[in-house]
Assembly symmetry: C2
Homo-oligomer: 201 residues x 2
Amino acid sequence: MLVLSSPSGAGKTTLSRRLLEKDANVVMSVSATTRPKRPNEVEGRDYFFHSDVQFAAMVKAGELLEHAVVFGHQYGTPKKPVQTALAAGRDVLFDIDWQGTQQLRQQVRDDVVTIFVLPPSRGELERRLRARAQDSAEVVARRMAKADDEISHWAEYDYVIVNQDFDRAERQVETILRAERLKRARQPGIPGFVETLMHHD
Amino acid sequence: MLVLSSPSGAGKTTLSRRLLEKDANVVMSVSATTRPKRPNEVEGRDYFFHSDVQFAAMVKAGELLEHAVVFGHQYGTPKKPVQTALAAGRDVLFDIDWQGTQQLRQQVRDDVVTIFVLPPSRGELERRLRARAQDSAEVVARRMAKADDEISHWAEYDYVIVNQDFDRAERQVETILRAERLKRARQPGIPGFVETLMHHD
C-alpha cells in the first residue's frame, strides 16, 4: 500500500495518474465520498459518490478502511477492493489526506509506505489552486487553509518529495516504489530460495 | 550509512566498486584487519593492515565502530573516517558481515540502511568461490561454511537482492540508495522549506 498525500494543488493527482499508466502492477484505491460530483468527474474512476445515508451505512457495516470529514463531506476508502487487489499481489495507491493516512496506519501497521508531496513554493501552490476554474474565491481561500493544515502533517510521512517538476517527482515516486519492493519483508519467495542456497551435509 | 553484506562469492565487492564509481557522493568505509595482505590488495584501498597488537590498541582506544573475528583474524571499521565523511554529507558504504552489521546497528540506530546480497544459486556460489585461484581447497571449504553462516542471517537486513546479473543488482542498489535519500528524516532542509510554504496571516 502506497499512500500519496499532499495539499491539493501540489500535483498529487497528476503524479498518481502517471504512476498508474507506467506501472501495470499498481492499482488506484478509489475513495467513496458524499460530496457532489464535479462536471469532469466520473463515478467509480474519481470517486464512488454516495448519499449521507449510504455512507453512514458503509461506516456502520465496517466496509471502510478509513474515513474522515473534509469541508462537511465524508470521504472514505472501501475495504473490499483494496483486499482483493492486495491478495492478487498488486500494489495499491491511495490518494488520501493526513487523517486517512493515520487511520490506515492504525489498521494495517506493517505494509504501508507513505509519501508526502510538497509544492515547490507558496506562490506556485496559490497559483495552482486559483487555476481550477470551477472553484470560487471562497473555495480557494478554504483550500489554502486546508493546504496549511495538510502541510503541517508532513512529518508523519516516510518520504518527502518536493514537486518542482513532474517528471522528476514521478521518477522519485517510482524509485521509492521499486526500492520498497526490494524490502525483505515484501519478497515472500526469499525464505524458500534461501533454503536452496544453504549447505546441508 | 549503507551496509552491503553477503557470503563471499555473491558479488558484493564488485557491486560496491561499481556503486563507488557511479555515485560521487558515496565513499567506502575501508576496514582494518589483522589478516595477511593478499597479492592483489592495496593498503588503504582494500584494508588497513595491522598487527594484532596494533588492532588490540585500536579496540581499547574505542577507535572502531565494530569489530569481529573471522577465521582467527580481526576485522573492524575505523570510526574517524566514517564520522568525517558523514559530517561532510557523504553516504558511507560498508562491506561488512552480519556480526559487524549487528554492532553497527547498535552504535547508530537510526541511520543505517542494510542490504543483503544473495547469490543466484548454490552452484554459482560454489563456482565463484572456487574461481579464486589463490585459495586452497581447504580455504574454499571453510568459505562455504562461512557462506552458510552468513546467509543464515539474511533476515536481519532491510533489503534483499538476488544477484542474478550484475547490472540489474547494481541498479537495485542504486534505487535503494536514491529512495532512502528521499526519506523524510534524511532531508535536513525540509523543515525550513515547509516554513516558507505555510500561510501566516
